[in-house]
Subunit: 147 residues, 2 copies
Amino acid sequence: MAEVTIGMASKLTEIKIPTIRYYEEIGLISPRARTESNRRLYAETDLSRLRFIRHARELGFDIEAIRAMINLQAHPEKSCSEIDQIANKHLADVNRRIAGLQALKRELSRMIEGCNCGRIDECRIIEVLQDHGQCKNDHSHMNEKFK
Amino acid sequence: MAEVTIGMASKLTEIKIPTIRYYEEIGLISPRARTESNRRLYAETDLSRLRFIRHARELGFDIEAIRAMINLQAHPEKSCSEIDQIANKHLADVNRRIAGLQALKRELSRMIEGCNCGRIDECRIIEVLQDHGQCKNDHSHMNEKFK
DNA sequence: TCTTGATCCTCTAGTCACTAGAGATATTAG
DNA sequence: CTAATATCTCTAGTGACTAGAGGATCAAGA
């Protein structure tokens, strides 16, 4: 199969054109072949890497984790335990996020239940938000990831 | 109680100093009283609003939702159904995020289980990430919030 | 062959919700 | 009086893109 332009690569991988260029800029894909008129050309291996990046991003891996995995792929003879570690770390993170969101859901539900849609000056939602003491769940442990 | 400086306000509300200034910049808290030497002074009502903002942020409301709620608080005679609506919209969003993360968790788990930590060139994690076809869960519906 | 429209290029700036740092001034404790 | 701490404003950086300007190139139809 011949090489394709960025527009075609975008269609095939479902990654937007500026995003593909961005991935190149930050070094996730190595400098491309170009046409005489300086247009990027992508081969099947490039598309494959782009799909890898896209799927990993969809699964919530951050760019640095993806970069690490790509670097590891450059040494196929090594053990894949490092990749396994990255995936496990990410799974743990996902589990923490789920737990955080579920606590959040409970609190939101309780807050909404308490609201009988009267006047704002007797609104339970505002009350709860204003007075942290009314909050039964301690989510001070929550970090950015949960929010 | 007397008015306090930004450092004290920061301690009392557990919001970092630059963040308080940022909230002022974007108009979440109205222009402060200042000392003769131009230092910000916060009264109890200001602290109350800061706590409201902090708690709402912790619960994942975005700045615009918080701004809307603050504007509604300025009209305490109105019905609080709008606030209820904001909270319900947010709850629905939280539910979607939980569902997305749970799908993600299933996929990550399956991926990790399949990995027997051999050589990278036979790593199931990389395989799965490279070939979307192997993925049983369709998470194309997932938006940024889930990632 | 000319022209039109689609595609591509690079570069800069904007998004969100902060966070960090520079350099200057002011207050407080000893 | 001095030194340490707290505050001020302003600018720039974060992550992972997204949007737009302004210009070059390509493919297809007249």
